[in-house]
Symmetry: C2
Subunit: 294 residues, 2 copies
């Protein structure tokens, strides 16, 4: 793997730059009226983040034989949903986080009303962006992708996970409950990313199912690794240390968490067997994910 | 008109009942997990309202020659967007309304976090519902409808209008500014309703444009009439009387407002000329709208 890792690092950097440029183009200009909300949307979306979800979207499409160049715009839809969810999760009535990526969170910078509306607008823009014509892609496929994204973002996915996460605050969860919340709050959008990418690439049901299994394990590996990194950063993190949240290291310890992340990554790779060499990038991505230090 | 009005009253009641039943079916059952958010979504959507937006959606589709029976599900998408916008508008950080239709508003009944999430979920469900397969409707048409709804709900429409409405609180607007805010905050969703209905009915560009003009004037007549009725109810209304909001009667007086509403209704009817007899319901609807007492 040592030989291939620099390659992946370049790939990740290049893809993130492509996604950043596309987001820059898709978000309304900061000067367009009403300017304040466009500033808030851009503040909350641009200039940071690994862009993992659109990168997975594009990698899944490539694994199914499509060229990524025509799919950059729809791939941004999953990043816009991700950005919206962070803005709303940070609100005082939710997780009450004053900082995000080391900067004041949206409601700290723009006020609460603007943060609610900017989140609403990012969610809305995600569907706008996903519904734009894509040369060479049948509209029936695109419509299925819209439905996929809506389901993943709804109460059976992202929003449902956040509801249960809020309800769990201060309560002791068991590992099954924690995995169930993580599967929805984090996993559903990873699944939508690969499923939408595969759908727009014209993938068959078997390919879509295999990628769904991959994304499920990817999401789990991601969440566990995130929890491990948060635990490593201790109380120095930006979040309010008074808010006890269930995490994998807190429940099963650091060593068992690392083993769980590695096992999830292994299962994710196993789902890629049908893709042969075309699945290499996806395999590298989950490998890197489970081993990352930041 | 006296002869036809009872007919319209029955039509409005029947259509509202059809929409109510469809919403009841489309919203997740209150018992489905996570139950609390599904309760909040149902609380904020069911059991009230004139269902004007889906009724316009269906009437526009019929004016373009379609049968409404197959379009009830997509027609509900505009009502779900409307319901979401009311839930978020009522939040303490926005208009801070404790009551909605004489009942505690969503955040008063379910808490602020749940109201933010229930609004998010209603918006998300709108796109889910609009993207479901419709027998006999080409997917390309449906995809255009998704894009229409997203644009109307975004910062160029509904959200942008709310941003400027919040920014205008306590400031004196002129009539042009007030019309501009109303055109986006109220009008954009009426326009999306008729445009989506027409699109799914297979309408041509000329029909869609005529209906867009109709809806623009319908929205204006609706907003002015709403303001007149609010003014008539005085300070006994549920909203906080300390919050001065610009209204048409406050700016130009009651009589001029009534004339403006009537003129907008006339202009709306003029847009229906190309539809001949098929436009009768739409003509009755705007006539009734501008004359309504509640």
């Amino acid at each position: 793997m040592a030989r291939e890792l620099p390659d992946l690092a370049t790939y990740l950097r290049d893809r993130a730059a492509l996604v950043e440029a596309a987001l820059e183009r898709l978000l309304p200009p900061a000067g367009a009226l009403p300017a304040r909300i466009h500033e808030a949307m851009r503040y909350s979306t641009l200039g940071g983040g690994k862009r993992l979800r659109p990168i997975l979207f594009l990698a899944a499409a490539e694994a199914c034989g499509a060229s990524p160049s025509g799919l950059l715009t729809p791939a941004c839809s999953v990043e816009l949903v991700h950005a919206y969810s962070l803005v709303h999760d940070d609100l005082p009535c939710m997780d009450d986080d004053d900082f995000r990526r080391g900067q004041p969170s949206c409601h700290r910078a723009f006020g609460e009303a603007m943060a609610v509306l900017a989140g609403d607008a990012l969610l809305t823009l995600a569907f706008d962006v996903l519904a734009r014509p894509i040369p060479g892609v049948p509209e029936a496929r695109q419509l299925r992708a819209v439905a996929e994204l809506a389901r993943a973002a709804g109460t059976g996915g992202l929003i449902g996970g956040q509801v249960d996460d809020l309800a769990a605050e201060g309560r002791v969860l068991d590992i099954d409950e924690l995995q169930d919340i993580s599967r929805r709050k984090t996993g559903a959008l990873f699944q939508a990313a690969v499923r939408c990418g595969a759908l727009l690439a014209g993938a068959g049901d078997a390919e879509i199912e295999a990628l769904t299994g991959y994304a499920r394990e990817f999401g789990l590996a991601f969440q566990i690794t995130d929890d491990i990194l948060d635990a490593g950063s201790g109380l120095a993190g930006p979040s309010d240390p008074r808010k006890e949240k269930a995490t994998f290291p807190a429940l099963v310890g650091l060593d068992a968490s690392r083993r769980m992340a590695r096992a999830a990554a292994e299962r994710a790779r196993a789902h890629l067997a049908p893709f042969g060499a075309r699945g290499t990038r996806l395999a590298e991505l989950v490998e890197w994910m489970a081993a990352r230090q930041g």
